[in-house]
Amino acid sequence: MITFWRVFKSGFRNTFRNAWLSSAATVIMAVTLLIMTFFAFSIIFVRSQLNEVQKKIDLTVFISDEAGEAQIKELQNKLLQVDGVESVQFVSKADALKRLEDSSEEGKKLAKSATDIGNPLPSSLEVKLAKLDDIGGVNKRIRDLPEAVIITETSFDSRDDNRKGVIENVIKISNGVTRVGAVLSVVFLLIALMIIFNTIRMAIFTRREEIEIMKLVGATKWFVRGPFIVEGSMYGVFGATIATITLVPIGRVAGQFLTDKFNAGSTVAYFGANFWLIVLCMDGLGILIGAVSSWLAISRHLKL
């Protein structure tokens, strides 16, 4: 225990002995941790947005006014059997009018004029899909049903419904963010590993006399190596601290913005609630990166 404490103390002291190299190592560690945290957040954010979009109705099938109740019922049952359909909900003409009325001030006016001309809004069947990617296929299968004669059009046909486009875009963004995040994280991880490796290598070089003396007076292998591992880990702790200090104000501003513009309150709240866990993860990751690069430098350059 006393040895562990001495090793720790010596490593801690050594961290401050070569201020320039130490700062470089700390800064790159902070940048790496920031980038990793930023992309982790982005990925979670985009995924949750995708979820939100997907939760909304996927495909609306509009019914001709001539269709009888039995025909609609029949179609609803058939739709449920179509491959890729999860659920179907009927929205009557009256329901549609009510929804329009409730949607906004503008909607209320529109609903009033619609009532005056005898409610031209069609009844519809709202279809939820098991998988959004297949929206085109499901639409075609629905269209191919013999019962589909009562369908006037679907949201997929109508040009102004760009849900498919939106979803495809969100998926594209999600995949893009994940890919860019992964690549950038790996790149910065490697840079951090290399810079800390080099810092420790320099430390081993400048302290070679001290290492020789330690060996001479009978220091064990770990008494010589330990301080370098501690030193590497310290860069992780300092880097994580800087990253946290940078992240807090950014998080405040960005959190407010995302909540207002993207209705991302839940994701932002999740990060807020788990703040200390995130800090702990950053510290853990920083220590891991630092210790691993020190270990690599030691095994390559510190022959005992």
């Binding site: 006399e209 020789e212 060996k215 007076v217 009978g218």
Partner: protein
Amino acid sequence: MILLDRVTVIYPNKTVALSGASLHIQPKEFVTIVGASGAGKSTLIRLLIKEEVPTSGKIIVGSIDYDTIDKANIPHLRRKIGVVFQDFKLLPNLTVYENVSFALEVSGVKNAEIKRAVPKILQLVGLSEKAHHYPSEISGGERQRTAIARALVRNPKILIADEPTGNLDPKNSWDIIELLLKINRFGTTVVLTTHNKEIVDALKKRVITINRGRVVKDEKVGKYTL
């Protein structure tokens, strides 16, 4: 007890540093090893602290057979043998006191024990007044005494002094030699290597002469002759 039995060291470049050297040093002896530069003195010392391994032959120090000691135990072996060098090998950023206590720290000695042992040993080498000076603030003789204090603080059975007076003026050299004699009187085996004829002749102790890797002379009361 130090026993070397037909020890040969041949470097990868085929240089023969020691060639069948045998010697036997009894506990509590004071032995001086002399020889020209490159005769094999330094190799002999590196063998004793196991910084080098002989190509052939046997080395036994105390009850330890160097053939059987594993790597993990080398630090423990080194704690039993104190070594001082011509260039002192002190840590410049530590004070005299810290340099000495450092040797105890690396071997896991408790702080209370360090606080007891270091002042005692500094008093023995006459450095109590300079305990909080850095190596750059003291004389060469004082630096060597710091190195001796560091070597002695763990109560080694053997003290090896590799040309400890090489960098010192005659006055300081004699102070160091007298300190080594004092340490020897307390019961520590001292192995001294030196080029200083005056010192060797005045010591009137056992002298082992090495030439070209061989022990060519071993006299109970010897003189410096090459």
